[in-house]
């Protein structure tokens, strides 16, 4: 089996943490919880770490098992498929969300005019090709682009940091608002669920666990830094800036002789968006093959593309509608997929282990 290393896993997590949280999220969150959105993010990241903890525990107990094997042993084939089906839906919507966020950015700031067909021509074949190439090839590509993306994001932060910024007022929102905002943005999280889908393809030891945590820590730190600098820079007008990382550069003082620097943000966002779409579509396809084992990966890609085109005409490009769906309806689904389902898997695996021990002792 073509496996991936701890470093590659860490980089995948780093890129998924960054991709859909550094554009739209800071401005949407600001509407409700102002600069306290930073605490919302911290809380959501803490929940996210809970998923990571469950994954590490599962990996410790069953280092070579796949999610399907694990669930089949515990609850039987049909329920296992039903549980994985939830993941399948989750990854479909996650890919859509990523695409929508990138789409809004590219349409508003980069291409302005009609962009729909152009975007599909660019994204879909490349993302499909990434899935065909497989997890190992993709993770190697992420490894190669990692420093480029990191440099791009840090560059945006540094440039923004050296412009006029001031600390915003914190603790203006009450805890209820903070928890409410947490709830409404559950769907923007749950990135670590991808690990469950290809858990049998990830190989690492204790040192590897530290490596993964290092990259996760780096990702979280960068996202929080972007939130902080974004709020320091825009204060009460933050809700108007829908493309956080890009706006940090666009509205910064131009450096003499360099000209406009937003091309760096542009390239970074495009690369991040592509990578995240690749990894989520791959997770969708893997879940699809687990649910429908008789169909190959190529069928999974075809099904994804058809669903993508259907949802494209319903959701993508309609900014308000997209935000309404992701903040009003999808949070309920996210609670199931992000937190309840991993907890069930963990509990089942624990039960399965107890049964195994019992069988051995008998």
């Amino acid at each position: 089996m073509k496996s991936i290393s701890a470093r590659q896993t860490g980089i995948i997590l780093f890129l998924t943490i960054l991709a859909n949280k550094i554009l739209l999220l800071p401005s949407i969150m600001y509407e409700k919880t102002k600069a306290d959105s930073l605490f919302v993010m911290m809380l959501l990241f803490a929940f996210e770490l809970f998923i990571l903890w469950i994954f590490f525990s599962l990996k410790n107990k069953y280092p070579n098992s796949s999610l399907k094997e694990l669930l089949q042993k515990s609850v039987g084939g049909k329920i296992a498929k039903a549980l994985i089906f939830v993941f399948l839906i989750f990854f479909l919507f996650k890919t859509m969300l990523t695409y929508s966020v990138i789409y809004v950015y590219l349409k508003d700031l980069v291409y302005q005019d009609e962009f729909g067909l152009l975007a599909i021509i660019c994204f879909i074949p490349v993302v499909n090709h990434g899935v065909v190439c497989g997890l190992r090839a993709m993770s190697r590509s992420f490894e190669l682009f990692f420093y480029l993306v990191l440099t791009g994001v840090v560059f945006c932060l540094v440039i923004a940091f050296f412009t006029n910024i001031s600390i915003p007022y914190f603790f203006l929102s009450n805890p209820k608002d903070i928890f409410n905002t947490c709830f409404t943005h559950f769907f923007s999280f749950g990135d670590y669920l991808i690990l469950f889908i290809f858990m049998d393809k990830i190989k690492f030891d204790n040192q590897g666990k530290k490596t993964i945590l290092k990259f996760v820590g780096l990702g979280i730190t960068i996202v929080l830094a972007i939130f902080l600098i974004f709020y320091c820079k825009y204060h009460d007008t933050a809700f108007m800036h829908n493309n956080a990382i890009a706006d940090l550069l666009v509205f910064s003082v131009q450096f003499n002789a360099i000209g406009r620097l937003d091309i760096i943000a542009m390239v970074t966002i495009m690369a991040l968006g592509l990578f995240q779409m690749e990894i989520f579509q791959y997770a969708f396809c893997e879940s699809f093959v687990m649910v429908f084992p008789k169909l190959s990966l190529k069928y999974a890609i075809a099904v994804f593309d058809i669903l993508f085109f259907i949802v494209y005409f319903v959701l993508i490009g309609k900014y308000e509608f997209m935000i309404m769906v992701t903040t009003n309806y999808l949070p309920y689904f996210s609670i199931l997929s992000n937190y309840i389902l991993p907890s069930i898997i963990f509990a089942l695996s624990y039960k399965h282990k107890k049964e195994l021990k019992h069988e051995k002792s008998v």
Binding site: S5, R7, Q8, L106, V110, Y111, L118, A119, I121, C122, F123, P125, V126, H129, G130, C133, G134, R136, A137, M138, R140, S141, E143, L144, F145, A257, I258, G259, R260, D262, I263, M266, V267, M270, A271, L274, F275
Partner: protein, 475 residues
């Protein structure tokens, strides 16, 4: 007419060789004994033939048999007794085959000669410092060049014949104990499986060794320099030498090899690191510069510094072509000039340069057909291409692809194109070797000889990017 055994054999092989003009036979009568000789005039040295075979036979007074022929009479170092079924092969190898009606054995004597050039510096990889020898068409000379560099009993040369008609000698070479056995076996298996009428150059067998022969990207290393092959074999790679070809193939191959030059190892490693970084920049400029320029000009002009934007606007005003067609036109012009300069006799080279640079370029700009920024960007990309000359054909194709992507989809096209290409490159893993190692996946040990080159003292172990057996390099 009654024919004896010698005449019968000569007649038989004359027919076998279709009475070819260079096929020769000699009958030598020594008393009652008749000795026959078969050889190809085009492949044998007449002086050597006379001195080592004909004269000694004439001067000989004793009865001739295989033993006396081999031990006493013939004055040649390369004599062997062969079987009848090998007569044709020996004749084709430039040997004289001797037989008689009075003894059973067949003796073969090597008097091969053919025009051969000296191992001069190859035009494709000149060095400022370091060895200047290059491989030649004669495989024996090539083997000597390698033996001279690796004085070890572990250096192995295994020969295989490929090609139904050409019967070309292909030599698989490696250092036993350093090269990975599985890689050697895989190379042997692939070469033995080749079914082709002829192998004229090493390039003919290259596609049989590649896992994806239809891929744009190079998957097998090739060089004309024995020092490079020797150093690759010391790292555990396998070399494939083909008779009549000065290009030696090496496997496994990683892209990083083409970013390295033999010069890097004969100069200060700090300087080598700088040059390697420049090379990778050159590679990137060569691939994406024209496409990127088009993307900026057509889709993202607002990110250009104002002064630069004004310059572009000034120079492109009134051009008859769209920017996309303009860049394609200049690219085509450069490519035509390149092809012409390759094929024209050298005395016409200067004329081509004048026509290309002055008449077509300068006058084209003055006539308002093409713009100076377009010419500069395309020329820059074409010049940058030669920072990695080994990848010239691949980069040229990629240039066209990225011109189309940048011109039709903007920066998004460039980024998606790059991600597509990198994803594809990461699927190439011939001989269990990741194509983009040591960066994807990151192999810490091999970064010492990556873009930033360390001193030879620091490279204590052999590369881990590809399979090899021996671990230590120095202590």
């Amino acid at each position: 007419m009654i024919q004896n055994k010698v005449e019968k054999i000569i007649e038989k092989y004359k027919i076998e060789f279709h009475n070819s003009n260079d096929f020769a036979s000699r009958i030598f009568n020594k008393g009652e004994q008749m000795v026959g000789m078969l050889f190809l005039k085009s492949m044998t040295n007449p002086e050597l033939f006379s001195q080592t075979i004909y004269m000694p036979l004439q001067q000989c007074n004793e009865k001739i048999d295989e033993k006396t022929l081999c031990e006493k009479i013939l004055k040649n170092n390369s004599i062997e007794i062969i079987e009848e079924k090998n007569i044709i092969t020996n004749i084709l190898d430039g040997k004289v085959v001797i037989f008689s009606d009075s003894f059973q054995g067949i003796v073969s004597v090597d008097v091969l000669t053919f025009p051969s050039r000296a191992p001069t510096e190859p035009p494709t990889s000149p060095v400022i410092q370091g060895p200047r020898e290059g491989f030649v068409e004669d495989f024996k000379t090539n083997l000597t060049l390698l033996r001279r560099r690796i004085h070890s009993k572990d250096l192995v040369f295994k020969s295989v014949f490929v090609g139904n008609k050409t019967n070309t000698k292909v030599i698989i070479s490696y250092i036993d104990g350093v090269a990975n056995k599985k890689v050697v076996e895989e190379v042997e298996r692939k070469i033995n499986a080749i079914k082709i009428d002829g192998v004229v150059d090493s390039y003919y067998i290259l596609s049989f060794l590649e896992k994806r022969p239809n891929s744009l990207f190079k998957q097998i290393g090739n060089t004309e320099k024995p020092d490079i092959v020797a150093s690759k074999m010391l790292e555990g790679k396998v070399a494939i030498i083909v008779d009549n070809s000065p290009i030696v193939l090496t496997v496994p191959f990683i892209l990083m090899e083409d970013l390295q030059s033999s010069n890097d190892y004969y100069t200060n490693h700090h300087y080598s690191s700088l040059v390697r970084v420049i090379r990778i920049l050159g590679l990137m400029i060569a691939i994406i510069a024209p496409g990127f320029y088009l993307a900026l000009q057509l889709f993202h002009y607002n990110v250009l510094p104002l002064n630069f934007l004004i310059t572009i606007a000034d120079t492109t005003q009134g051009l008859p072509f769209t920017p996309f067609l303009e860049i394609l036109f200049i690219f085509l012009l450069f490519q035509i000039l390149y092809e012409v300069s390759l094929r024209l006799p050298s005395y016409l080279g200067l004329a081509t340069s004048v026509v290309g640079a002055l008449i077509l370029g300068d006058t084209g700009v003055k006539a308002g057909l093409i713009s100076p920024p377009g010419v500069i960007i395309t020329a820059l990309a074409k010049i940058a291409l030669y920072t990695v000359p080994e990848q010239q054909s691949q980069i040229t194709v990629l240039q066209v692809i990225f011109i189309i992507l940048g011109g039709s989809l903007g920066i998004l096209g460039i980024v998606t194109g790059l991600v597509f290409v990198v994803n594809y490159l990461n699927t190439l893993d011939d001989f269990s070797t990741p194509y983009l190692a040591p960066y994807a996946p990151r192999i810490a040990n091999d970064l010492q000889d990556g873009l930033i080159k360390h001193s030879i003292n620091d490279m204590k172990t052999l590369p881990k990017s590809f399979p090899n057996n021996h671990k230590e390099r120095s202590k």
